[in-house]
């Protein structure tokens, strides 16, 4: 693979350490609202985004810190956004669930399950009609598959032959609802057939497997200007949000999945392959922690937006 394996591991550390700190900051009430951690699923965003180009559009959900960071949104501005600061990537208006970055074609960050999918279709339509080369990659959860928006969007994308890569991050639960209690057909990739669309699946705990699957799928979408459905099998190690008592799953199941921790297993693999030694791994971890420390300092230090600005950006100032 062309991508730097060390970079993949380093980026997973960056997400993990950032989110661990977010959880602490939530306890300290520095971060408020809903906070959905991606911990356990890092291989998905890291493997996927490393397989894309700057021309591609990305949409994600409220569990999008990792995707934003991978897309190049500076950790400082992500952290500041979670604080609600004007230096945040959404000027403090969005918070954890609404990270945006127009300069990097990162379209959020939505808190309505399924609402990104139709928009992905539209972005791909714009690229197509404006003859831009990019494809649109839309991440969403297994829970979103039950929404009508999934059905309508996949049909539209396939019917209109639009370059959308739909990526299901199937972590087996939608809040407290296990996949088998939400879906009559639990093989989610198989649903593509209903839309005459190609599909594939990959191990979402293995960053290289994700990278390979997304590379292949994205290449097909790019070349064929047709959509594709990719299912990543993954698992979240933490609660759904900070309010979740996790009554719906066994500790044992979580522990079983933790044995497949995407970071620990990949670090071990790189050591086994002689790519890194233990110190090298620790160095990546330390760099990630340092970056997080810097981001927190940045978030703490930058000022609050004046209340007088409340009504700005409801509408676009004329002349823009």
């Amino acid at each position: 693979m062309t991508t730097d394996r060390v970079r993949l591991l380093a980026d997973m550390y960056r997400i993990r350490r950032m989110e661990e700190t977010c959880a602490e900051l939530y306890g300290l009430q520095k971060i408020r609202g809903f906070l959905h951690l991606y911990i356990g699923e890092e291989a998905c965003a890291v493997g996927a985004v490393h397989a894309l180009t700057d021309d591609d559009n990305i949409l994600a959900t409220y569990r999008e810190h990792g995707h934003a960071l991978m897309r190049g949104v500076p950790m400082n501005s992500i952290m500041a956004e979670m604080y609600g600061k004007a230096s945040g990537c959404s000027r403090g208006r969005g918070g954890s669930m609404h990270l945006f970055d127009s300069s990097r074609r990162f379209y959020g960050g939505t808190a309505i399950v399924g609402s990104g999918l139709p928009q992905a279709v539209g972005l791909a339509l714009a690229d197509t009609m404006l003859a831009r080369p990019g494809i649109t990659v839309c991440f969403f959860g297994d829970g979103a598959v039950a929404e009508g928006a999934f059905h309508e969007s996949l049909n539209l994308a396939s019917l209109w032959r639009l370059p959308v890569l739909f990526v299901i991050e199937n972590n087996l639960y939608a809040m407290g609802t296990a996949l088998s209690r939400a879906q009559a057909q639990t093989d989610l990739a198989s649903k593509a057939a209903g839309y005459a669309m190609t599909s594939s699946a990959a191990d979402g705990m293995d960053v290289e497997a994700v990278h390979a699957a997304v590379s292949e799928a994205a290449a097909a979408v790019r070349a064929g200007r047709r959509p594709h459905l990719l299912e990543l099998h993954t698992y979240r190690f933490r609660a759904h949000s900070m309010f979740d008592a996790e009554l719906y799953r066994d500790r044992a199941e979580v522990d079983e999945w933790k044995k497949r921790d995407p970071i620990a297993t990949y670090a071990a693999r790189l050591v086994a392959d002689g790519v890194l030694d233990k110190a090298g791994v620790d160095g990546l971890d330390r760099a990630a922690r340092d970056e997080v420390t810097g981001a927190v300092e940045f978030a703490e230090a930058t000022p609050w937006e004046p209340v007088a600005d409340l009504l700005t950006d409801v509408h676009t100032p004329r002349g823009m």
Binding site: F100, G122, D127
Partner: protein, 322 residues
Amino acid sequence: MRITYRDAMRLAIRDALLADPRVLLMGEDVGLYGGSYAVSKGLLDEFGPERIRDTPLSELGFVGAGVGAAIGGLRPIVEIMTCNFSLLALDQIVNSAALLRHMSGGQFSVPIVIRMATGAGRQLAAQHSHSLENWYAHVPGLRVLTPATVADARAMLAPALADPDPVVIVEHAALYNTEADVPEGLTCDIERAAVRRPGSAVSLVTYGGSLPKVLAAADVLAAEGIEAEVLDLRVLRPLDVASVATSLRRTHRVVVVDEGWKTGSLAGEVLARIAEECLFDLDAPPRRVCSAEVPIPYAKHLEDAALPQVEGVVAAVHQVIA
């Protein structure tokens, strides 16, 4: 040039397509069928299926696609056949289109125009007869336009498309066949209400499909010697309260006519603004003439009874003048 409201809408869309390659029209049956109200007839032949884009029956999906297309640099005009079906798409309109700019800290504007037919009066029964304008007028981030005249149908689309933010255009289905002479090069100020008939005895405030009824009522009243001023709100969000107040300060009496159900209506909002800002200018309690609080029935005599009518407007004026 004498044209119908339907023609006016089509000419406006055509102008937009000619003027800007980023503009496209999408919706159910806008292409081959020619539009459910025949607004887009002929456009497919002229502009092709990419820009006159028929969609499947997927209101949530294609409105959301319109939102994405707008963010992505196009200038979509999305037609939802009627406001009744727009209920299926509200999530994309309200939770995405209206919020995105603010929620992203000003990074993404959503230059989409969403057109939909509204209203009752053609015996289409309860599921095809809503007037939900006040729902849309309630939502920050949207602009809501209700062309009531052929001229406004002709001239409102251009400024709506020039607006970098989402605009909802609500077209009363009963207006499509109305005709008028419309000059070339017409423009429209989509910030302001329009006085459709000057008068000093009472202010009749209305919009959309009720305008012809209100003008007819004004004629009846004029024959009685009562000169009513007719104000067409035209822009439901942001409401041009100043024009309402100006009229009222002259007439001191007001009747608001609105095809929405009375409770929770746009007319209610107008009365609230008047009470807040012009209370002591009122010489009589303001009145609303709205739809009865009933799902619109099919039978003609019942439908007529449920909707605002000329006689009801006249009667309300008599009440405020008595």
